[in-house]
Amino acid sequence: MDLIIISLLVLGVTGLVAAILLFFIAQKFKVEEDPRIDEVQAVLPGANCGGCGFAGCRALAEACTKASSLDGLLCPVGGAPVMEKVGAILGMAAPAGEPKVAVIRCNGTCEARPKTSEYNGTRSCAIMSAMYVGESGCAYGCLGCGDCVEACAFGALKMNPETGLPEVDENLCTSCGKCVKACPRHIIELRKKGENNQRMVVKCLNQDKGPAAKKVCANACIGCGLCAKVCPQEAITVANNVAYIDFDKCVVCRECEPQCPTGALWGMGFPERLSKTAAAPAQETEAVSTDKDEKFDSAIAAKIQAIKTPRAVFPACLPYNNK
């Protein structure tokens, strides 16, 4: 009996002393913190991806709470809806942010861009680009080692073994920009997702003159400027032998796409490609059809149809339009 009482007393007194000590220590070392930081953090996605430029969601929450306006502070994962919530908590207007997506600006597939050497070092774009031009002759294109794939925390990028190029899963991409930083060739760009997830992109950065660019890659932009000529919005500029589409001006009319002689210009988010190579046999369908089978004709006919009425065909069968 005594034993139980003694042990209860000892434990109780120890606990009491410890509690008092802790109370004073907690008072002494108390850190004053804005309670709104916790609230903001609760709204943020909590992926800690660092895509906002801060070291995790907590740091962004602190930055938002301290800032006098939310301009320039954006959670790329949550996008505008999350920022609106943050703005509501802090009593500030959320900046208008448009969803973006990473775009790979190289179409130098294995087929189009033959290898001129065999790289035997560590498979890393950073190491390879410090060493030399890469396995193909193109000094601007994708190196194909997948530094971007490794950098992506959301699994939105993967290498396509057939083309040797990375591909973006637009449903998973949060436009955090890690891949943009990881790419030593700077071929990844964050672009507006666009209406219906459709946008026009020049998938090439080769600044060499036309013949030189064409020599290393069949899909290279040769800077011919045909696309710029037809663009009704004047959204396309050609500088350093490469065309670039300003996505603020572009209205995705796809006038430019069939003009491209090499296949560097792409309409993304469309089921069909519009290209000269597809259009050319279409004009000669009658001449060709005599020695081609029915199947081929119908395929070409479908393509012609698609070219003639692009807008009418596409909304029904968009691959990514599942929202």
Binding site: S117, N120, T122, A126, A130, Y132, V133, G134, A139
Partner: protein
């Protein structure tokens, strides 16, 4: 016999293919492409224009900054264009294109083979002449020599160390140069000593070149203050810091320059170029290159004018061997594997090595077994296994704390790794980023200090 104290490896030296092959002059090309950036630092600014007639040895581009060097034409003819060309790695570099016509030299160049011993010039004059001649370190780094010969204020050179080590396997150009032009090198050393105002010089030569040691020792007896140090065979003895340690037993501290221990290091080829520039008025327009490899038909040492396409040099050596898998510019330890041979010879091209295909690929990478062989081999006393892992994990601050900037890229760690791990690939890439971070920090500190003022 001396050597450096930390680390080092013993690769098979493979010098037998081209050793003792007399230096042969390579013929003139039809078109010479002379790059404007053949050195560390800013590229040179062209002073000729399209259509200009140039002679051999004529200045065609001026140094473009403090750390930069003049570029002279190696051929005579007409400048057809000044444009960019690609080097063997596909990188762009500006160059002067010259269509070769005859072989007309500048009048003030002494083209005789007489050995001119007397030199009564003032140090200032000598350094000026070296700068004008566009001489850079021909050992590989291509650092402008005149900059090296002007110690920063407060520091004084005490001893000139001449690098005749040639520790890279396969290469023999310096060896052959010592055998054929030993006397000129001795005079070059005396001129350099005069320029530095010192009276002691040490020539370091590895013991796998006994004839060069004998020849240089014999010549050194006649000269005052010059000593030949035979050195034990160990790679990377030709590294600047390792050579100073081996020759005079002083170690340059981390981040410091050789001048901090009173040493100035120059390669024998550089010394020979200094002799030619000062005594014969001949700017740096050619160098000796080793073309070698197991299957090369005529491996040897070739005197090549800058601007000559490498293809022509290869032709002299009997063409590209059938079984070639890898072509390396330089030696197998630090040389760069080339993407193509469409490149002109310039100040940096110290050799061409053809490796057969079965020796060209790396071994299969296995797990690190923590044997510590890389730590033992590292001549800078670093921990390569750790640095490489940190680089993989992007822990750049930790890399800096572990002295990654001391790494000299010698490749001992990768050479010795039983698991064939690509240690240096990762360390080199991490070092680049750490170096960038340090420079950014210094720039920020400088800007902050100026803002305070």
């Amino acid at each position: 016999m001396n050597t450096f104290k930390i680390g080092g490896v013993h690769p098979k030296d493979n010098k037998l293919y081209s050793a003792h092959q007399p230096i042969i002059e390579c013929g003139l090309p039809k078109q010479a492409i002379i790059p404007l950036a053949q050195h560390i630092g800013a590229p040179a600014k062209p002073v000729v224009q399209k259509g200009d007639k140039v002679k051999v040895g004529q200045l065609i581009a001026e140094a473009g900054g403090f750390v930069s060097a003049n570029v002279h034409s190696g051929v005579s003819g007409t400048v057809t264009k000044i444009d960019v060309t690609t080097d063997a790695w596909g990188m762009k570099m500006p160059a002067v294109f010259i269509d070769v016509e005859g072989d007309e030299w500048m009048e003030d160049i002494n083209r005789t083979s007489d050995v001119l011993r007397e030199c009564a010039m003032e140090p200032k004059e000598i350094i000026d002449k070296i700068a004008k001649a566009g001489i850079v370190g021909l050992g590989g780094a291509c650092f402008p020599t005149h900059v090296k010969l002007c110690p920063p204020p407060g520091q004084k050179a005490e001893v000139l160390i001449v690098n005749g080590v040639e520790c890279e396997p396969y290469l023999t150009c310096d060896h052959q140069l010592m055998l054929e032009h030993g006397e000129e090198i001795m005079i070059g050393i005396q001129i350099t000593m005069r320029a530095l105002g010192i009276n002691r010089a040490v020539i370091g030569i590895e013991k796998n070149k006994p004839d060069a040691i004998a020849r240089m020792t014999e010549l050194a007896h006649k000269a005052l203050g010059i000593e030949v140090k035979p050195l034990k065979l160990k790679y990377p003895q030709g590294g600047e810091k390792q050579l100073i340690d081996a020759c005079i037993g002083r170690q340059v501290a981390s981040g410091a320059l050789p001048i901090s221990v009173g040493a100035v290091v120059d390669n024998v080829a550089t010394i020979f170029a200094i002799y030619e520039a000062v005594q014969k008025n001949k700017p740096l327009i050619s160098r000796v290159m080793t073309v070698t490899g197991k299957s090369v038909k005529k491996p040897g040492n070739y005197l090549v004018r800058f601007g000559t396409p490498l293809a022509q040099v290869i032709e002299m050596a009997g063409g590209i061997p059938e079984d070639t898998g890898k072509i390396i510019g330089g030696g197998p330890m630090m040389g760069r594997a080339m993407n193509s041979v469409d490149m002109p010879a310039h100040k940096r091209t110290s050799g061409l090595l053809f490796l057969p295909e079965d020796e060209s690929r790396r071994g299969e990478v296995a797990n690190c077994i923590r044997c510590g062989k890389c730590v033992t081999a590292c001549p800078m006393g670093l921990e390569p296994y750790l640095l490489s892992r940190m680089s993989e994990l992007k822990m750049y601050d930790e890399m800096e704390q572990h002295n990654v900037m001391d790494c000299i890229d010698c490749g001992c760690c990768m050479f010795t790794c039983p698991s064939h791990r690509p240690l240096l690939d990762y360390i080199r890439s991490g070092k680049g980023i750490v170096g960038g971070n340090i420079r950014a920090r210094q720039a920020a500190a400088k800007a902050a200090a100026e803002a305070k003022k």
